[in-house]
Amino acid sequence: MNVEHEGSVHVLQLFDVSKRIGGREIVRQLNMSVRAGEVYGFLGPNGAGKTTTIRMIVGLIRPTRGAIRVCGHDVERDPVNAKRHLGAIVENPEMYGYLTGRQNLLHYARLAGVDHIEARIERVAKRVGLEDRIDEKVKRYSLGMRQRLGVAQALIADPKLLVLDEPTNGLDPAGIREFRELVRALAAEGLAVFVSSHLLSEVEQMCDRVAVLQQGRVIAEASVAELRARAGSLLLRVSRWDEAASWLRARGFDVEGKDGRLVVARLDDARVASLLRDLVAAGFDVYEAARTGGLEQSFLALTGAESGGDTR
């Protein structure tokens, strides 16, 4: 009973999960939990252990130590119940090219134990915008259509948890945008989404919370909104910019001035507000003020300089 209750809040839980392959510790003591309706970003450079973690969640790899629960069911000990509410795209969603899209979905729906299979296939095909081409063989699909079919197969069992491994790899900007909107819509319907990425911008636009993985460890976890508010630089265009720069410097801000523009580094929301107020009160005209690189700088601060090169 307790387990069921826990499961309804935390759709995915990882407890001290470690994986050792051939004497090398790929993933070390991961602890994470994802709630219903939340998009959880899993950010890290290539080779940090993201794919290994995702493969452990979906049961392709066994953890060396620790436990993973989906909706309260242990993935290793009770795989049938744990995976009943799981939809996944692991790397590229490879499909059976010699089958049609419909046959592929039928195949996965049978394994997922879906009732009213035909109606369900129609519904997910429509949802991903594939209803016109669903009876064509998958080998004639474009990459974008394959990705859509990949999403369709992940949604076929009406999952509570969606696990996506680098889902936007190979998509064009329009496709990425469309995909992001789909993920947000699914989360709004109450799905928990666990999405890995090596792109900071993607996580920033798609996720509610984010964990940063580096060399197999989670080195930071925070909500995206919080990170965005925490730090960043402020871009200013003001009257008498050189005068304003020295005025700000005198008040202890870190200012760089160039061609009439000022960049004030390392500010949170409160300091930005007070700076603007004081600047106007001191008689400077503010033409433009913009926050930049908030998340990125927060990350640099959280993770130290070494991750900066990889998590663009």
Binding site: I21, R55, V58, G59, L60, I61, R62, P79, V80, N81, A82, K83, R84, L86, A88, V90, E91, N92, P93, E94, M95, Y96, Y98, L99, Q103, L106, H107, Y108, R110, L111, A112, G113, Q153, A157
Partner: protein
């Protein structure tokens, strides 16, 4: 329930893959070759001047032969057959008695000697094909059952479903075994159909000996033991019935071959490697069991028993130079199947799928 859904899926994939078309095309080539061979043989036979037709009073001569053979058998009964020659004489007499009794009881006239018999031609060809061509077709059909999904990466989206891995594997094996059995069974009847179309339908009721034991006599001065077929426990069946049994036995042996190929496809993650490994093990096993004639361990090889009908009709004992029975052959194939399947279930159940 879940198993049935897995079986449905695997069947859908099997019949839609290009491999099935390749296998069917190769099988048709094989049937075509057999037809060509039969046609050629028939032309040769047609050049032979027609010999006397079987006389209408074959019953009288059969009865006379039977009485003479029975009388001779009674004389020989007391002397035990402890040399190859004596055993041979005894065997021939027993065979004659059994044949005449069968013909008289069922009213089956002998075929005239220059007439080709499609039934026995097919039976002989199937005996060879079940050790060579048919296993290769089976390997092509199911040799990448698991490895193909590993190579293509589709295994990932299979394993993430709420189905236990052993259920997935069992479903795949059931489809492999069933398709191998169906393919080989149908192929046997395709051969039969071709042979009957070319040679004519005669021969269905001709006698066929089953359950023949083979004794080996070591003679001073001879390098190898002399095999002699023993008809003490032999039974005589009409040819059509024996052929039905033979086809069923071929299908059974091909289930064993499919299991071997299936295990290779679990153990080797590349479709090409697994198919080659399965094919290689069958060819090597075939060569070894032919080369190591007379060694008793040859009986333990699965390739020795691919013609289970040969185990039953005595042919296998002659080929490998040591006595085998159908029960032994079935036991050997079952043991191989069980051990290999256990290995593949252990492997697939525990395997980390890292880079599929």
């Amino acid at each position: 329930m879940r198993l049935w859904r897995v079986v449905q899926n695997e069947w859908m994939k099997l019949v839609r893959r290009r491999r099935l078309a390749v296998v069917v095309a190769l099988a048709l080539c094989l049937v075509g070759m057999f037809a060509l061979g039969e046609h050629h043989e028939r032309q040769i036979y047609s050049r032979v001047p027609t010999q006397a037709e079987v006389s209408a009073d074959w019953r009288a001569s059969a009865q006379a032969n039977l009485r003479a053979a029975e009388a001779q058998l009674r004389l020989l009964k007391d002397s035990s057959a402890n040399s190859a020659g004596a055993a041979q004489t005894l065997a021939e007499l027993q065979q004659n008695v059994q044949e005449d009794r069968y013909r008289l009881a069922r009213d089956v006239a002998p075929l005239s000697p220059n007439l080709l018999d499609g039934w026995s031609e097919t039976s002989q060809f199937v005996g060879v094909a079940t050790k060579t061509f048919i296993p290769l077709l089976v390997v092509i059909l199911v040799g990448d059952m698991v490895a193909g999904e590993m190579t293509q990466g589709t295994i990932k989206l299979l394993v993430v479903r709420p189905v236990r891995r052993r259920t997935l594997l069992l479903g795949k094996w059931l489809v492999s075994a069933a398709s191998a059995a169906a393919l080989s069974f149908l192929l046997c009847f395709a051969f039969l159909g071709v042979a009957l179309a070319i040679d004519g339908p005669q021969g269905a009721m001709q006698p066929e000996w089953l359950n023949i034991h083979v004794r080996f006599f070591t003679q001073p001065g001879a390098l190898q033991a002399t095999p002699v077929a023993v008809y003490n426990h032999a039974v005589v069946w009409p040819m059509w019935q024996a052929f039905l049994l033979q086809s069923a036995l071929v299908a059974g042996a091909m289930v064993a071959v499919a299991s071997i190929a299936f295990t290779c496809s679990v153990l080797f993650p590349s479709a090409m490697v697994s198919t080659s490994a399965a094919m290689g093990s069958i060819i090597i096993g075939f060569v070894v069991s032919a080369m190591a004639r007379g060694q008793s361990w040859v009986r333990m090889l699965f390739t020795t028993h691919l013609s289970l009908y040969g185990d039953l009709a005595g042919g296998t004992s002659f080929t490998i130079g040591s006595p085998v029975t159908l029960a032994q052959g079935v036991a050997v194939l079952l043991a191989w199947t069980a051990v290999l399947l256990a290995a593949s279930f252990l492997r697939f159940g525990r395997q980390d799928i890292l880079n599929a």
